[in-house]
């Protein structure tokens, strides 16, 4: 996690906010911190490449274009930090809709911008890791289900027990230099085909 602190300066930051005094204060503080910073207003149709963190002003209604910019999941989207001038429910809803990682409030103070970037970055990094882990687990569970189904087919056809069925699958996988998943899938497909033949007879 200390890498997050060391890497702060290599971040590319985009500020989506009108060019006013608040925006200038924020941009100056971000460049004091040492990040590369650019501004864009009105918001562009697509985000520039290589943007790591986006500060975005959130008002009572989030324009459709803005929502489109950030509709991707955290895996394909930069870290988002909301800039708010009001704390009423419409603005809060905007924060939830855009799924920002943290918030800075107006009038902007230099102090706190660095910790906001850091915290938002950490939440974003963790979310990405969580999503990747979730995907890995989902795949694994799917694979377990496939192998189990294939084992049951073998047990039914050959009158063997579960561990013997698994041994059969594994031996085939090893001799064909492939994975148990592929063998299991092949068994399930073959079983489906054979069942179809039986029905057509």
């Amino acid at each position: 996690m200390t890498d997050l602190i060391n890497d702060l300066r290599s971040l590319n930051v985009l500020v989506l906010h009108r060019r006013d005094a608040d925006c200038d204060d924020l941009v100056q503080q971000i460049s004091r911190i040492g990040c590369n910073v650019e501004t864009a207003w009105p918001p562009p149709e697509t985000l520039p490449a290589n943007v790591d963190v986006v500060f975005v002003e959130i008002k009572e209604s989030v324009p459709v274009g803005m929502q489109k910019l950030f509709q991707d999941s955290a895996l394909n989207r930069p870290t988002l930090i909301g800039i708010i001038g009001y704390e009423n429910p419409s603005v809060l809803l905007g924060l939830l809709d855009l799924n920002v990682q943290t918030v800075v409030s107006k009038p902007l103070r230099a102090f706190g911008v660095m910790s906001s970037i850091l915290m938002a970055r950490r939440i974003w990094v963790q979310r990405r890791e969580d999503l990747a882990n979730l995907e890995k687990l989902r795949l694994k569970l799917e694979n377990v289900q496939i192998v189990t189904e294939a084992k049951f087919i073998l047990m039914r056809h050959h009158g063997i027990n579960e561990s013997e069925a698994y041994k059969v699958i594994r031996t085939h996988a090893m001799s064909r230099r492939t994975s148990t998943i592929e063998i299991a899938n092949a068994i399930i497909n073959a079983d489906g085909l054979l069942n179809n033949f039986q029905l057509k007879k």
Binding site: N6, R9, Q28, S31, R32, I33, G34, A110, F111
Partner: protein, 403 residues
């Protein structure tokens, strides 16, 4: 309508302690401010009006600085303040001056990672002194470092930076100890025993206040040789060396923007003026010099605005330059910190800091630099230390380049 002299004077608040643990250094800073004010007043004041200091003694207690800053603004009607040594004191003053939109000058080196539009920072940030010091120590003494510091934010942050630079240079930190700001003799003894056991090549000290004097003396009394294993510091200054005494102080190293032995016409004038007012310039420190040049820069800006309005003064201060005793300084409009000289000096047998190395030009302050790069081109210039500002330079700069 006639105005009384007090009404027509420009008032400036001063918050330096003359009692408590950091009194020695803070008194030297207060003297720097008072000297600049008397120089300005003797020359006719600013636009015909004298500058009138309003000073309080916070007694080295952090919360007192905040309370007295409030009093300066609310009761004395001051809108410009200069003061503070320790970061903990500055942090108490910060919310007060921001709320009241007062201009605050901070003439002390600190750990960085701060920016307030209301503060003009006159001391060094780590990028301006840590890297040159680390390079010098690794070249001349070795790569095994021992860290000792007072237990507060500045030492811990300085050590974090230093540890990183040392590792980049292939060195190791063999020990790290902190003791309270009001350290006892036993605290220091325990650290000295640990140092003896770990056998470092150099000791990097961020001890501040009275503990400094005790540490150097105890180190000497324990039979250590500073010429072989010196204590290197960013804070140990002329006033403290004076108290430590030449015998125990000789051989130790400090990195700072200013040392009183540097030769320049500005510094000669500064020291002569200081001696005239305070009797002796032996205790002049880099923090005193920073307080001195910041007060002059304030007066310079005031001369142009003819108003104590914070916004107007800041506009004139950002980007302003000044021929300070240390050389040319400039307030960086990007971050309100100051471009400063960077020098490394060793205490000689007479108890005076003699500059060993210096950078060719002032370094840009970079208060938000997490880890300075040991190989930064800006710091390499230091090997070619120029001889013209160096007193009693035995080898010329050309000879040193060859050697």
């Amino acid at each position: 309508m006639t105005r009384s002299p007090t009404e027509s004077a420009w008032r400036i608040g001063i918050l330096f302690s003359s009692t408590g643990t950091t009194a020695v250094i803070e008194k030297s800073q207060r003297n720097g401010v008072l000297l600049a004010i008397s120089e300005i007043n003797e020359a006719g004041g600013v636009n015909g009006r004298q500058i009138e200091p309003v000073a309080y003694d916070p007694g080295s207690v952090p919360t007192e600085y905040g309370r007295l800053a409030e009093r300066l603004i609310a009761e004395d009607g001051v809108s410009v303040i200069i003061g503070c040594y320790m970061s903990s004191a500055r942090k108490q003053v910060l919310p007060v001056i921001e709320r009241r939109n007062t201009l605050f000058f901070y003439p002390t080196l600190y750990e960085g990672f701060e920016y307030s539009p209301n503060v003009i920072y006159g001391g060094a940030t780590p990028n301006q002194n840590s890297v040159p010091l680390a390079i010098y120590l690794m070249e001349n003494y070795g790569t095994n470092f021992y860290f000792v510091g007072s237990d507060y934010i500045y030492p811990r942050e300085s050590n974090r930076v230093m540890r990183n630079i040392v590792r980049q240079g292939g060195g190791t930190v063999v020990g790290e100890r902190y003791f309270p700001i009001d350290a006892s003799a036993e605290d220091i003894q325990a650290v000295l025993e640990d140092i003896a056991a770990k056998q470092p090549d150099v000791i990097f000290s961020t001890v501040v206040g009275e503990g400094t004097v005790n540490l150097y003396r105890a180190y000497h009394a324990a039979g250590n040789d500073a010429r072989r294993v010196p204590i290197a510091s960013l804070t140990t200054n002329e006033a403290e060396i004076l108290e430590i005494g030449p015998e125990a102080a000789a051989g130790h190293i400090t990195a700072a923007p200013y040392f009183r032995t540097i030769r320049s016409s500005e510094n000669d004038r500064f020291l002569a003026s200081y001696t005239r007012r305070f009797g002796s310039s032996l205790a002049v420190t880099s923090c005193c010099e920073a307080a001195y040049f910041q007060t002059h820069m304030f007066a310079q800006a005031l001369g142009r605005t003819n108003s104590l309005d914070t916004v107007q003064l800041r506009e004139k201060l950002l980007g302003a330059t000044f021929e300070a005793p240390q050389g040319t300084v400039k307030i960086d409009p990007d971050n309100n910190h100051t471009y400063l000289q960077s020098r490394i000096a060793k205490v000689n047998d007479a108890g005076e800091f003699m500059v060993e190395r210096e950078l060719i030009r002032p370094i840009k302050p970079d208060p938000y630099l997490v880890n300075p790069d040991l190989n930064d081109r800006n710091f390499k210039l230091m090997v070619t230390a120029s001889a013209d500002t160096q007193q009693m330079a035995v080898p010329s700069s050309a000879e040193r380049r060859q050697g």
